[in-house]
């Protein structure tokens, strides 16, 4: 518990370095391929415009954070939760940064947010190219696939943790926090991780519900 304030601070700092995580949502309609290319371009431009931070510094900082969490918590499962929480707090803030700086088009549907996250946000904050796959037929779930992960650049999981620790789980938290700020309550979780020997990284995002904006109630009658 005493962990909390420190984590928060750390979270904000990493975020400030802006080479860190991730996403945020807002996307376009189903213009498919041409659309994806346009978004990639937007992502690339946003990436170029932003201040860059040495990726080794980011990777090492993140590694130190995970390492400390692994020491502090008994079970890798708990570490996953903490990383998700840290990411969530980052996401709540990062989304405004993303909206203000990315120039991404507004998103008209939940499914459309996928392309924005993958093409623009991943590019902008992590400097990697991601793509969307496995969109559920009702548009309420999708996967984001990416091959290289700057956070895990130097990491290797020890055998006992290969089945339990999601090293980059902070990204899931960021996606969750960011989407919540634009009224989508979602679950995000890693499905595959190269660190575990899979052939690529996959984050599964599923919509829990759409939040509604409530008109503030008047105190007086």
């Amino acid at each position: 518990m005493s962990e909390a304030p420190r984590e928060r601070l750390q979270a904000s700092q990493t975020e400030r370095n802006s080479s860190e995580k991730v996403p945020r949502p807002v996307a376009t309609s189903a213009g498919a391929a041409a659309n994806a290319a346009a978004l990639s371009k937007i992502g690339e431009q946003a990436f170029q415009r932003g201040e860059l931070v040495n990726s080794e510094l980011a990777a090492l900082t993140y590694g130190a954070l995970v390492r400390q969490l692994v020491l502090d918590y008994a079970h890798p499962q708990q570490v996953n939760e903490q990383l998700d929480r840290i990411g969530y707090n980052i996401g709540l803030r990062l989304v405004d940064d993303f909206l203000a700086r990315s120039a991404a088009p507004p998103c008209r549907s939940f499914a459309a947010s996928a392309e924005i996250i993958a093409r623009v946000a991943f590019r902008m904050y992590l400097g990697v190219n991601a793509k969307v796959a496995h969109i559920a037929s009702d548009g309420s779930e999708y996967s984001i696939l990416f091959d290289s992960n700057p956070l895990a650049e130097f990491a290797e999981l020890p055998e006992p943790m290969k089945g339990s620790l999601w090293y980059s789980n902070v990204i899931c938290g960021v996606i969750r926090g960011a989407l919540e700020m634009v009224q989508y309550s979602v679950q995000a979780r890693f499905e595959r991780d190269i660190l575990r020997g899979d052939d690529c990284n996959e984050i599964r995002v599923s919509l829990v519900r759409e939040l509604e904006e409530r008109v503030p109630t008047d105190n007086e009658i």
């Binding site: 928060r8 601070l9 904000s12 700092q13 975020e15 400030r16 807002v26 309609s29 189903a30 709540l92 803030r93 989304v95 405004d96 940064d97 909206l99 203000a100 700086r101 507004p106 998103c107 008209r108 549907s109 939940f110 499914a111 459309a112 009702d138 548009g139 309420s140 700020m181 634009v182 009224q183 989508y184 919509l207 759409e210 939040l211 509604e212 904006e213 409530r214 008109v215 503030p216 008047d218």
Partner: protein
């Protein structure tokens, strides 16, 4: 053109920040005024959605079953004989409101700059700022001022009012 007041509300209608530059009539109850303003903005937003044609941006187009929750409003400004109110809403539900003298044109871009240069840089990136609480930071205030002042430079905005308010207008220009 003169610039009167600036308000920043969050999605829940809480006032995060308020600043006045020129205000010839003191408000009687600023909290009441802010509440009224929030009510007005929510009402306009609802109205815009219900009146707009179906191909409006706030409605899904070519999408499947699920669509976006009521997104940011497209409403930008309204003008009365005495003043003009400018409005910008972010996807995260922040509402930027600026009042100026009439015929100021479209100041959406100015409000977007406040979002980007003041809110994001001085509030969101400040680890000590708790989201949703009132912004008391001096840096933030100065940043808002400087964005607004840049407009003043561009268009020669904060000229003293012609009708006898010259003195007060000029002094507030300086206090910027």
């Amino acid at each position: 053109m003169q610039i009167y007041n600036f308000y920043l509300f969050n999605r829940h209608g809480n006032c995060l920040f308020y600043r006045e530059w020129q205000r010839s009539r003191a408000g009687t109850d600023s909290q009441q005024e802010q509440q009224n303003l929030v009510g007005l903005l929510f009402a306009i937003k609802q109205l815009c959605v219900s009146v707009a044609p179906v191909n409006d941006d706030s409605l899904p187009r070519g999408t499947r079953a699920r669509h976006m929750p009521l997104g940011p409003s497209n409403f930008r400004n309204y003008t009365t004989a005495k003043y003009q109110l400018h409005y910008f809403e972010s996807s995260t539900g922040l509402r930027f409101v600026l009042t100026t003298s009439p015929n100021a044109g479209d100041l959406t871009r100015l409000l977007q700059r406040i979002y980007k240069e003041a809110y994001v840089e001085c509030a969101v990136r400040n680890p000590m700022y708790r989201l949703g609480s009132a912004i008391v930071s001096d840096t933030f205030r100065k940043r808002v001022d400087s964005v607004v002042r840049s407009l003043a430079v561009e268009t020669n905005v904060l000229r003293p009012a012609p009708d006898g308010q010259g003195g007060s207008a000029r002094s507030s220009t300086k206090s910027l």
